[in-house]
C-alpha cells in the first residue's frame, strides 16, 4: 500500500490545531521553494541567450516563458506574482533588444487570464487547459507581431511568429509534466 503523504496536511495553517513553530531554516526552505518558478523562468531567459546550437532558440524563449507564466498563474500565483511577471518581461525585452514593453504586455495578458480564471481552469482536465493555452498563445503572439510591426513601421516576417505558436503549443505538455512534479515537490512551500 502506498503510504499517504500527510506532510501537507500536518503543516496546513488553515485548519485549526496546535503545531510546532517554524524554525529559521524551515522559513528559508519555504522562501527558496516559493522562488523556484521565478528562478527557473529567469534561468531559461538567460540560458537561451547563450550562443549554443539549440534549434529555434529565439522562438523557444518566449514560448517557454509564456507557458511558465500561464502554468504558475493558475496553479500557484503566489510563486509568480504580477510584479515578478512584469520584471520577467522587462528582462526579456532588455536582453533581446526587442521593442521595449511588448513582452511585458503579452506576459501580463497571459498572467491576467490565468490568475482571474484560475479557479475555473484548475478544475478542468489537462487537454482543456492545454487547448485554452493554445488559444492564448495564438492571441498573444499575434499581438506581439502586430505591436512589433506597428512600432517598426513595417510588416515583420510572419514565419517566426508561426514558429513561436507551434513551439509554445508543443512544449506546454512537456513543461506541465515538469512543473506539475515541481508543484508537488521542490516548489511546494507547504512541504517543509
Amino acid at each position: 500500500m502506498i503510504k499517504k503523504d500527510n506532510t501537507n496536511h500536518f503543516n496546513d495553517r488553515k485548519t485549526p490545531g496546535i503545531r510546532p513553530a517554524f524554525s529559521k531554516f524551515q522559513h528559508i526552505d519555504m522562501v527558496v521553494r516559493s522562488l523556484v518558478p521565478m528562478a527557473f523562468t529567469i534561468f531559461v531567459v538567460l540560458f537561451l541567450s547563450t550562443p549554443f546550437d539549440i534549434p529555434g532558440r529565439n522562438e523557444l524563449l518566449p514560448a517557454i516563458v509564456v507557458a511558465s507564466v500561464y502554468f504558475w498563474s493558475i496553479y500557484r500565483p503566489k510563486s509568480m506574482p504580477a510584479v515578478g511577471v512584469f520584471f520577467l518581461g522587462f528582462l526579456t525585452d532588455l536582453l533581446n533588444f526587442s521593442t521595449p514593453g511588448v513582452v511585458i504586455f503579452i506576459l501580463l495578458i497571459t498572467y491576467g487570464i490565468g490568475v482571474t480564471q484560475r479557479f475555473r481552469l484548475a478544475k478542468y482536465n489537462f487537454i482543456l487547459v492545454w487547448l485554452i493555452f493554445a488559444v492564448i498563445a495564438v492571441g498573444v503572439f499575434m499581438l506581439q507581431w502586430i505591436l512589433s510591426s506597428v512600432f517598426s513601421l513595417k510588416i515583420m516576417p510572419y514565419t517566426s511568429f508561426l514558429f513561436e505558436i507551434i513551439f509554445a503549443v508543443g512544449i506546454y505538455p512537456l513543461l506541465s509534466i515538469v512543473f506539475a512534479w515541481a508543484h508537488r515537490t521542490i516548489a511546494n512551500p507547504g512541504k517543509v
Partner: protein, 303 residues
C-alpha cells in the same frame, strides 16, 4: 509600513495588475519617444550580465568539448587520411600563393603603389545571442578600456558578419547582416554587377535590385561595395546560391548562428561624415581621425 485595513489591502491587491498594464504601455511609449534612455538601460544590464553569460556557458562548454573529443577519436584514422591529402593540396596552393605575393609586390613596386594602411582590429568573444524573434544580433564582451565605436565592422574568420550598433562599457551589440533591417550594397565578383543584400531574419540574406540583364551566377563570390560610405569596399561576405529559381541568396562562409569569435575592424571611415538621416548608424566620433582607405587588406598580412 502604514497600517491598512483588510478591505483597502484587498482593493490595492486588485489594482496591481491594471497598474502594471499601464506601466507596460508607458514603457512602450517611452521606448518610442526616448529610445536613448532605454538604450542606456539596456547596455547597463548587458554590461552587468556579460561576465555572467560566460559563467552559464562554461559547464556546457566542458560537456560539449568532451562529446566532441569522443566523436573525434571514433573517426580518427579516416580523418587523418583525408587531412593528409588535403595538406598536400594546400602545400601546393601555398607555393602558388607565395609566387603570386612576390609577383604582386614586384608589380606594385613598378607602379609606385601607395601601400594600404595596416588596419587595427580587436578580437572579441561572442557571449550571447541577443536575437529576438524579429531581429538578429549578437553581444560581444570587450575589455574595460576598449576603443570600439558604433559603426565599426565585424568580421568572422572569413567575412563580414555585421556592424556594431551599440557600445557599452564592457560589451557591444553587433547587428548581423541577416537582420530584417539590414541593407548592404554588394558587388558580385564574376558578373561585376551591383546589388543590395537584404536580410530577412533567415540564415541567408536575399539579393535584390540586381540588374535585369546580369543575373547573379550560382556560386560566385559576393563582396561589399563601397557605395553610400557605409562600409569599405571589398570585404568578402559569401557566395551566391539559388534557393529557388529567381530567388538568389547569399550564403555566408560561416553560418551566422554559430558565431563564437568575431574581429571588429576600425576602418577609419570617419573622414567623411554623411548627412544625418533617420535610421542611419553614425560611423563614430571625430576623435581618432585616420586617413582614407584605398582598398582594405583583410587578412592584415605584412609585406
Amino acid at each position: 509600513m502604514i497600517p491598512l485595513s483588510i478591505h483597502i489591502k484587498q482593493g490595492l491587491a486588485k489594482l496591481v495588475l491594471p497598474f502594471l498594464f499601464v506601466v507596460a504601455c508607458l514603457i512602450m511609449l517611452l521606448g518610442q519617444a526616448q529610445p536613448k534612455f532605454i538604450e542606456t538601460l539596456r547596455l547597463k544590464v548587458t554590461d552587468f550580465l556579460a561576465p555572467g553569460y560566460a559563467l552559464i556557458e562554461e559547464p556546457f562548454n566542458i560537456v560539449y568539448g568532451f562529446v566532441n573529443t569522443i566523436k573525434d577519436i571514433q573517426n580518427i584514422s579516416a580523418e587523418n587520411k583525408a587531412l593528409k591529402e588535403q595538406n598536400l593540396q594546400l602545400r601546393r596552393w601555398y607555393h602558388v600563393a607565395m609566387g603570386l605575393v612576390d609577383e604582386n609586390t614586384l608589380l606594385k613596386n613598378q607602379l609606385h603603389w601607395i601601400p594600404d594602411r595596416a588596419l587595427s582590429f580587436v578580437t572579441a568573444r561572442v557571449v550571447a545571442d541577443v536575437s529576438g524573434v524579429y531581429h538578429k544580433a549578437i553581444l560581444v564582451v570587450l575589455g574595460e578600456d576598449h576603443s570600439v565605436k558604433p559603426g565599426q565592422v565585424a568580421l568572422d574568420g572569413f567575412g563580414l558578419v555585421g556592424r556594431v550598433t551599440e557600445v557599452g562599457e564592457r560589451s557591444a551589440r553587433i547587428l548581423l547582416i541577416n537582420d530584417d533591417s539590414s541593407r548592404i550594397p554588394v558587388r558580385l565578383s564574376n558578373s561585376k554587377a551591383q546589388a543590395i543584400m537584404a536580410g530577412d531574419n533567415s540564415l541567408y540574406p536575399r539579393l535584390i535590385f540586381y540588374p535585369e540583364d546580369k543575373h547573379p551566377i550560382e556560386g560566385e563570390k559576393v563582396v561589399t561595395d563601397g557605395q553610400g560610405d557605409v562600409l569599405p569596399a571589398g570585404i568578402p561576405i559569401g557566395y551566391v546560391h539559388y534557393l529557388k529559381p529567381g530567388q538568389p541568396v547569399v550564403v555566408p562562409y560561416l553560418p551566422l548562428d554559430h558565431l563564437r569569435i568575431v574581429r571588429i575592424f576600425n576602418y577609419g571611415k570617419n573622414e567623411v561624415i554623411a548627412p544625418g538621416a533617420p535610421g542611419r548608424v553614425i560611423p563614430s566620433t571625430k576623435k581618432n581621425r585616420q586617413g582614407p582607405v584605398a582598398s582594405p587588406t583583410l587578412l592584415g598580412r605584412d609585406e
